[in-house]
Homo-oligomer: 143 residues x 2
Protein backbone atom coordinates (compact mmCIF):
# COMPACT_ATOMS: atom_id res chain seq x y z
CA UNK A 1 0.00 0.00 0.00
CA UNK A 2 1.69 3.13 -1.17
CA UNK A 3 -0.61 5.30 0.87
CA UNK A 4 0.60 4.30 4.29
CA UNK A 5 2.20 7.10 6.18
CA UNK A 6 5.70 5.77 6.43
CA UNK A 7 6.01 4.11 9.82
CA UNK A 8 9.72 4.29 10.36
CA UNK A 9 10.70 0.65 10.35
CA UNK A 10 13.84 -1.10 9.39
CA UNK A 11 12.90 -3.85 6.97
CA UNK A 12 11.76 -7.35 7.97
CA UNK A 13 8.54 -6.23 9.62
CA UNK A 14 7.20 -9.77 9.60
CA UNK A 15 6.47 -9.86 13.30
CA UNK A 16 4.99 -6.46 14.02
CA UNK A 17 1.36 -6.59 15.08
CA UNK A 18 -1.34 -5.22 12.83
CA UNK A 19 -4.14 -3.29 14.45
CA UNK A 20 -7.30 -5.29 15.08
CA UNK A 21 -10.38 -4.70 12.97
CA UNK A 22 -13.65 -3.39 14.34
CA UNK A 23 -15.17 -6.78 15.10
CA UNK A 24 -11.90 -8.14 16.41
CA UNK A 25 -11.61 -5.27 18.85
CA UNK A 26 -15.15 -5.84 20.07
CA UNK A 27 -14.25 -9.44 20.83
CA UNK A 28 -10.97 -8.47 22.47
CA UNK A 29 -12.85 -6.11 24.76
CA UNK A 30 -14.94 -9.00 26.00
CA UNK A 31 -11.87 -11.19 26.43
CA UNK A 32 -10.08 -8.55 28.46
CA UNK A 33 -13.11 -7.90 30.59
CA UNK A 34 -14.16 -11.48 31.31
CA UNK A 35 -10.89 -13.35 31.02
CA UNK A 36 -10.37 -16.48 28.89
CA UNK A 37 -13.59 -17.43 27.12
CA UNK A 38 -15.05 -20.12 24.95
CA UNK A 39 -16.83 -19.21 21.75
CA UNK A 40 -20.09 -19.59 23.60
CA UNK A 41 -19.04 -17.20 26.33
CA UNK A 42 -18.19 -14.54 23.81
CA UNK A 43 -21.33 -15.18 21.82
CA UNK A 44 -23.53 -14.94 24.88
CA UNK A 45 -21.99 -11.61 25.80
CA UNK A 46 -22.30 -10.34 22.24
CA UNK A 47 -25.91 -11.44 22.04
CA UNK A 48 -26.83 -8.98 24.75
CA UNK A 49 -25.82 -6.17 22.38
CA UNK A 50 -27.59 -7.42 19.28
CA UNK A 51 -28.39 -10.37 17.07
CA UNK A 52 -25.28 -12.25 16.00
CA UNK A 53 -24.71 -15.82 14.86
CA UNK A 54 -22.70 -18.29 16.89
CA UNK A 55 -20.61 -19.35 13.92
CA UNK A 56 -19.84 -15.73 13.17
CA UNK A 57 -18.07 -15.41 16.50
CA UNK A 58 -16.46 -18.79 15.97
CA UNK A 59 -15.09 -17.78 12.59
CA UNK A 60 -13.83 -14.46 13.91
CA UNK A 61 -11.99 -16.17 16.75
CA UNK A 62 -10.51 -18.74 14.37
CA UNK A 63 -9.22 -15.95 12.15
CA UNK A 64 -7.88 -14.05 15.15
CA UNK A 65 -6.09 -17.22 16.19
CA UNK A 66 -4.56 -17.61 12.73
CA UNK A 67 -3.40 -14.02 12.88
CA UNK A 68 -1.92 -14.54 16.30
CA UNK A 69 -4.16 -12.00 17.96
CA UNK A 70 -5.48 -14.53 20.45
CA UNK A 71 -4.11 -17.71 21.98
CA UNK A 72 -6.15 -20.91 22.06
CA UNK A 73 -6.27 -23.69 24.61
CA UNK A 74 -7.44 -26.82 22.81
CA UNK A 75 -7.08 -29.22 25.72
CA UNK A 76 -10.82 -29.24 26.24
CA UNK A 77 -13.42 -29.81 23.60
CA UNK A 78 -14.65 -26.25 23.83
CA UNK A 79 -11.51 -24.30 23.01
CA UNK A 80 -10.66 -21.45 25.32
CA UNK A 81 -9.45 -18.19 23.83
CA UNK A 82 -7.49 -15.42 25.46
CA UNK A 83 -5.85 -12.27 24.11
CA UNK A 84 -2.20 -12.47 23.21
CA UNK A 85 -1.48 -8.85 23.97
CA UNK A 86 -2.70 -6.85 26.92
CA UNK A 87 -5.37 -4.22 26.66
CA UNK A 88 -2.78 -1.58 27.44
CA UNK A 89 -0.52 -2.72 24.64
CA UNK A 90 -3.33 -2.74 22.12
CA UNK A 91 -4.63 0.61 23.26
CA UNK A 92 -1.17 2.08 22.92
CA UNK A 93 -0.90 0.65 19.46
CA UNK A 94 -4.25 2.09 18.41
CA UNK A 95 -3.46 5.49 19.82
CA UNK A 96 -0.05 5.60 18.20
CA UNK A 97 -1.68 4.58 14.96
CA UNK A 98 -4.26 7.33 15.13
CA UNK A 99 -1.66 9.93 16.03
CA UNK A 100 0.33 8.98 12.96
CA UNK A 101 -2.60 8.70 10.57
CA UNK A 102 -4.62 11.74 11.57
CA UNK A 103 -2.54 13.97 13.82
CA UNK A 104 0.70 14.30 11.98
CA UNK A 105 2.49 12.40 14.72
CA UNK A 106 1.66 14.99 17.35
CA UNK A 107 0.22 13.58 20.54
CA UNK A 108 -0.55 17.01 21.95
CA UNK A 109 -2.72 17.77 18.97
CA UNK A 110 -4.69 14.67 19.77
CA UNK A 111 -5.07 15.96 23.31
CA UNK A 112 -6.34 19.23 21.99
CA UNK A 113 -8.90 17.47 19.87
CA UNK A 114 -9.94 15.38 22.82
CA UNK A 115 -10.44 18.42 25.01
CA UNK A 116 -12.22 20.19 22.19
CA UNK A 117 -14.95 17.61 21.88
CA UNK A 118 -16.46 18.75 25.15
CA UNK A 119 -16.86 15.09 26.02
CA UNK A 120 -14.11 15.26 28.58
CA UNK A 121 -15.43 18.26 30.49
CA UNK A 122 -16.19 16.26 33.60
CA UNK A 123 -14.20 17.68 36.53
CA UNK A 124 -13.31 14.18 37.65
CA UNK A 125 -11.77 13.45 34.29
CA UNK A 126 -9.87 16.72 34.29
CA UNK A 127 -8.49 15.98 37.73
CA UNK A 128 -7.51 12.51 36.66
CA UNK A 129 -5.71 13.91 33.66
CA UNK A 130 -3.87 16.47 35.75
CA UNK A 131 -2.70 13.80 38.13
CA UNK A 132 -1.42 11.67 35.29
CA UNK A 133 0.36 14.66 33.88
CA UNK A 134 2.02 15.34 37.23
CA UNK A 135 3.16 11.77 37.54
CA UNK A 136 4.64 11.72 34.08
CA UNK A 137 6.32 15.04 34.70
CA UNK A 138 7.70 13.95 38.07
CA UNK A 139 9.07 10.57 37.17
CA UNK A 140 9.36 11.45 33.55
CA UNK A 141 13.01 12.49 33.73
CA UNK A 142 14.44 9.05 33.22
CA UNK A 143 17.81 8.21 34.86
Amino acid sequence: MALTVTDDWSMKNTNLPKRPTEAELAILNILWQRGPCTVRDVHDEMSTRGRIGYTTILKLLQIMHEKGIVLRDESERAHVYRPKRTQEQTRGQLVRDLVNRAFDGSASQLMMSLLGTGKVASPAELASIRQMLDEVDDGGAQP
Copy 2:
Protein backbone atom coordinates in the same frame (compact mmCIF):
# COMPACT_ATOMS: atom_id res chain seq x y z
CA MET B 1 -23.51 -5.17 11.65
CA ALA B 2 -24.51 -6.49 14.99
CA LEU B 3 -21.08 -5.89 16.42
CA THR B 4 -21.17 -2.14 16.33
CA VAL B 5 -21.17 -0.65 19.77
CA THR B 6 -24.65 0.72 19.73
CA ASP B 7 -24.40 4.21 18.36
CA ASP B 8 -27.46 5.68 19.95
CA TRP B 9 -29.42 6.58 16.89
CA SER B 10 -32.99 7.62 16.56
CA MET B 11 -33.81 6.38 13.11
CA LYS B 12 -33.03 8.48 10.04
CA ASN B 13 -29.27 8.37 10.51
CA THR B 14 -28.85 9.08 6.83
CA ASN B 15 -26.87 12.24 7.38
CA LEU B 16 -24.38 11.31 10.06
CA PRO B 17 -20.82 11.15 8.73
CA LYS B 18 -18.97 7.86 8.57
CA ARG B 19 -15.31 7.87 9.42
CA PRO B 20 -12.98 8.01 6.42
CA THR B 21 -10.99 4.97 5.39
CA GLU B 22 -7.21 4.79 5.51
CA ALA B 23 -6.62 5.96 1.96
CA GLU B 24 -9.34 8.58 2.19
CA LEU B 25 -7.74 10.03 5.28
CA ALA B 26 -4.37 10.20 3.56
CA ILE B 27 -5.94 12.21 0.77
CA LEU B 28 -7.84 14.44 3.18
CA ASN B 29 -4.58 15.23 4.94
CA ILE B 30 -3.16 16.54 1.68
CA LEU B 31 -6.31 18.52 0.96
CA TRP B 32 -6.25 20.15 4.37
CA GLN B 33 -2.58 20.94 4.11
CA ARG B 34 -2.48 22.31 0.56
CA GLY B 35 -5.99 23.61 0.11
CA PRO B 36 -8.22 22.76 -2.86
CA CYS B 37 -6.44 20.42 -5.26
CA THR B 38 -6.87 18.79 -8.62
CA VAL B 39 -6.33 15.07 -8.99
CA ARG B 40 -2.88 15.83 -10.33
CA ASP B 41 -1.98 17.94 -7.32
CA VAL B 42 -2.91 15.15 -4.96
CA HIS B 43 -1.18 12.55 -7.07
CA ASP B 44 2.02 14.56 -7.24
CA GLU B 45 2.07 14.89 -3.47
CA MET B 46 1.30 11.21 -2.99
CA SER B 47 4.00 10.22 -5.42
CA THR B 48 6.64 11.66 -3.13
CA ARG B 49 5.64 9.02 -0.54
CA GLY B 50 5.54 6.01 -2.85
CA ARG B 51 4.44 4.61 -6.17
CA ILE B 52 0.76 5.20 -6.80
CA GLY B 53 -1.28 5.36 -10.01
CA TYR B 54 -2.92 8.55 -11.19
CA THR B 55 -6.24 6.86 -11.80
CA THR B 56 -6.13 5.37 -8.35
CA ILE B 57 -6.23 8.83 -6.83
CA LEU B 58 -8.86 9.85 -9.36
CA LYS B 59 -11.08 6.94 -8.39
CA LEU B 60 -10.62 7.57 -4.70
CA LEU B 61 -11.60 11.20 -5.10
CA GLN B 62 -14.62 10.24 -7.19
CA ILE B 63 -15.76 7.85 -4.51
CA MET B 64 -15.15 10.43 -1.81
CA HIS B 65 -17.23 12.85 -3.82
CA GLU B 66 -20.05 10.34 -4.12
CA LYS B 67 -19.92 9.81 -0.38
CA GLY B 68 -19.99 13.52 0.24
CA ILE B 69 -16.61 13.55 1.94
CA VAL B 70 -15.24 16.12 -0.50
CA LEU B 71 -16.78 18.87 -2.60
CA ARG B 72 -15.96 19.23 -6.28
CA ASP B 73 -15.68 22.32 -8.45
CA GLU B 74 -16.34 21.26 -12.03
CA SER B 75 -16.21 24.70 -13.60
CA GLU B 76 -12.78 24.00 -15.03
CA ARG B 77 -11.75 20.98 -17.01
CA ALA B 78 -9.54 19.74 -14.22
CA HIS B 79 -11.98 19.40 -11.34
CA VAL B 80 -10.92 20.91 -8.06
CA TYR B 81 -11.57 18.99 -4.86
CA ARG B 82 -11.77 20.28 -1.31
CA PRO B 83 -12.76 18.66 1.98
CA LYS B 84 -16.34 19.07 3.10
CA ARG B 85 -15.55 18.90 6.79
CA THR B 86 -12.70 20.63 8.58
CA GLN B 87 -9.68 18.80 9.88
CA GLU B 88 -10.78 19.57 13.40
CA GLN B 89 -14.22 18.07 12.85
CA THR B 90 -12.79 14.92 11.36
CA ARG B 91 -10.16 14.60 14.04
CA GLY B 92 -12.81 14.97 16.70
CA GLN B 93 -14.86 12.31 15.03
CA LEU B 94 -11.94 9.89 14.85
CA VAL B 95 -10.98 10.48 18.46
CA ARG B 96 -14.52 10.06 19.69
CA ASP B 97 -14.73 6.90 17.66
CA LEU B 98 -11.57 5.47 19.16
CA VAL B 99 -12.64 6.37 22.68
CA ASN B 100 -15.86 4.48 22.20
CA ARG B 101 -14.38 1.48 20.42
CA ALA B 102 -11.29 0.90 22.53
CA PHE B 103 -11.49 2.97 25.70
CA ASP B 104 -14.91 2.22 27.02
CA GLY B 105 -15.95 5.81 26.37
CA SER B 106 -13.38 7.20 28.79
CA ALA B 107 -11.31 10.04 27.39
CA SER B 108 -9.01 10.12 30.40
CA GLN B 109 -8.08 6.52 29.80
CA LEU B 110 -7.03 7.48 26.31
CA MET B 111 -4.89 10.22 27.84
CA MET B 112 -3.28 7.70 30.11
CA SER B 113 -2.47 5.46 27.19
CA LEU B 114 -1.09 8.40 25.28
CA LEU B 115 1.19 9.38 28.14
CA GLY B 116 2.18 5.77 28.62
CA THR B 117 3.58 5.39 25.15
CA GLY B 118 6.50 7.59 26.02
CA LYS B 119 6.02 9.29 22.70
CA VAL B 120 4.70 12.43 24.35
CA ALA B 121 7.52 12.88 26.82
CA SER B 122 8.80 16.03 25.18
CA PRO B 123 8.70 18.91 27.69
CA ALA B 124 7.28 21.19 25.03
CA GLU B 125 4.41 18.82 24.47
CA LEU B 126 3.78 18.50 28.18
CA ALA B 127 3.71 22.27 28.56
CA SER B 128 1.37 22.56 25.65
CA ILE B 129 -0.95 20.03 27.18
CA ARG B 130 -0.89 21.76 30.53
CA GLN B 131 -1.81 25.03 28.92
CA MET B 132 -4.70 23.45 27.08
CA LEU B 133 -5.85 21.88 30.29
CA ASP B 134 -5.77 25.23 32.04
CA GLU B 135 -7.76 26.88 29.30
CA VAL B 136 -10.40 24.20 29.33
CA ASP B 137 -10.58 24.35 33.08
CA ASP B 138 -10.79 28.12 33.17
CA GLY B 139 -13.36 28.69 30.52
CA GLY B 140 -14.78 25.27 30.93
CA ALA B 141 -17.72 26.41 33.03
CA GLN B 142 -20.02 27.16 30.15
CA PRO B 143 -22.43 30.12 30.53
